[in-house]
């Protein structure tokens, strides 16, 4: 039996349209998605009508503060919504619902974007649908790649989780015990004063391609979980010793034992990626064995890293019928379309939020959401 997704269809209308608003971190995204009546399948795919994003960029060495990130979202949200409507060739009144990220994420940016969602809902008299950000990533990843029931590795600036579906919940098999992987990479980018444009992680990835020597770093897998703050502290100290600008400190030189060549900042980026990604591959492989699966879907901003995809592929190739699924930056990096898609699935099963119930929350775990649109 499959879930009836058309109980709430408008009479005489053959499709649904949803607008999604995302602003849980430094990206502001607005997307419009179209579902035709019936089950989503390889012959009835969701259609992306528009997917517009604007990123708040800070100077090198600086992270994004909640106050300024929220200000970016507030001051751009109307312009970005207008652009998404024009690109999608959709009028507000054509929509079925307004979807917004309800959490998890940074409080001030979330608060700013939900105000836009509430305003649109009242302006066009449309229901609101609160979406869990992680569920947005998972559902969009499944839709784009066609992966049916994969183990999901969700890696981004704020989240690191290994997830598998069971009994109408996305269950967390393993996760970070402290900082997220993207946070670890971004903070190291700040230490090296690498630019934040287009993204600090992207710039680390490019530098890592030029790295040749592996520097020894702690490897901290704890059962199904991992810890990254110690690795960051360790590599930060190495970087400060090698390239620090403090006048009283004479910079040390670190030599690669095999070749005798000096260690460069590129080598550090390479080493950090290799160690962190190996840890991710290890816990993902263990989750695959637990649930007896052979599909991996990588979602989240760090999922666009090609080295991570390559390492995951090496692992999955050794498994029988192993398959890896990943998306490009349009869908990996935070975006509005994934919120529209997951929100529309909720809407099609009758789950909407009354105005009083649209308060955002910084803590909202993936397994708190009841996945009413799946019953496999």
């Amino acid at each position: 039996m499959t879930v009836d997704l058309d109980q709430y269809a408008k009479p005489g209308k053959g499709y649904y349209l949803a607008l999604g608003l995302e602003g849980s971190a430094n990206k502001l995204g607005v997307g419009i998605i179209k579902h035709h009546l019936g089950q989503l399948s390889s012959t009835n795919r969701a259609e992306v009508l528009s997917n517009v994003r604007d990123t708040y960029i800070t100077p090198p060495g600086e992270g994004f503060l909640p106050r300024d990130t929220a200000r970016h979202h507030r001051n751009w949200v109307v312009r970005i919504i207008k652009k998404a409507l024009v690109e999608g060739n959709v009028r507000g009144t054509d929509l079925d619902c307004i979807c917004f990220t309800q959490g998890p994420g940074m409080g001030a940016p979330l608060q700013s974007v939900v105000i836009a969602a509430r305003t649109l809902s009242q302006l066009w008299n449309l229901p609101l649908v609160g979406v869990n950000h992680c569920i947005g990533h998972i559902e969009m990843g499944r839709e784009i790649t066609g992966a049916h029931n994969p183990v999901v590795l969700y890696v981004s600036g704020g989240n690191t989780q290994v997830i598998a579906y069971s009994d109408q919940r996305y269950r967390i098999f393993g996760e970070t015990l402290d900082i997220a992987i993207g946070n670890c990479l971004d903070r190291f980018a700040r230490t090296l004063m690498i630019p934040n444009e287009p993204a600090p992680g992207y710039n680390i990835e490019q530098m890592a391609k030029k790295g040749k020597h592996l520097v020894s770093l702690p490897y901290t897998v704890k059962g199904m979980d991992l810890s990254m703050s110690g690795i960051l502290a360790n590599i930060d100290q190495i970087a400060k010793d090698l390239f620090g600008k403090a006048k009283q400190v004479k910079n040390k030189q670190l030599i690669d034992e095999e070749t005798g060549e000096p260690i460069t900042s590129e080598d550090l980026c390479f080493s950090l990626q290799e160690v962190l990604f190996s840890m991710l591959v290890e816990i993902t492989e263990r989750a695959l064995a637990h649930v007896n699966s052979n599909q991996v879907l990588i979602v989240g901003g760090v999922g666009s890293n090609e080295r991570l995809q390559e390492m995951m592929k090496l692992m999955i190739q050794d498994r029988k019928n192993g398959q890896i699924y990943a998306t490009d930056e349009r869908f990996c990096i935070d975006n509005g379309i994934m919120i529209a898609h997951a929100g529309l699935l909720s809407y099609r099963t009758g789950q909407t939020n009354d105005l009083w119930n649209t308060v955002c929350t910084q803590r909202f775990r993936t397994d708190e959401v009841f996945i009413k649109w799946r019953d496999d």
Binding site: T58, P59, G61, E62, D68, N75, R79
Partner: protein, 106 residues
Amino acid sequence: MSSVPTATYGAPDVSEPIVFEPGQQIHTTNGRTTQISDIVLKAGGEDRDKPTEAKDTALGQLRAQLTTVQDKVNEFLTERMKKEKEDKTDVERRILDDGVDEDDSD
């Protein structure tokens, strides 16, 4: 007729509700209290996220007036929080140190 936005503040220790009105000055969307943080500018960043200017329409004027009201509310609340913190520190010092500042005692 264009409507003028106002904000009303009430609290248990405030006897009369306080009303904030835009007033007669020139209003813009470039608010005093909604600028980018100094820390970003000092680090060499530029402000690429300024709000658009208000259009000369009823809605445009409303946006500009609202920004002025928001400035007034923000400044009032900041002042109130500052005072509350000072009062609390005074009370704590009186109770805990009996009014004697240890740093000055010897």
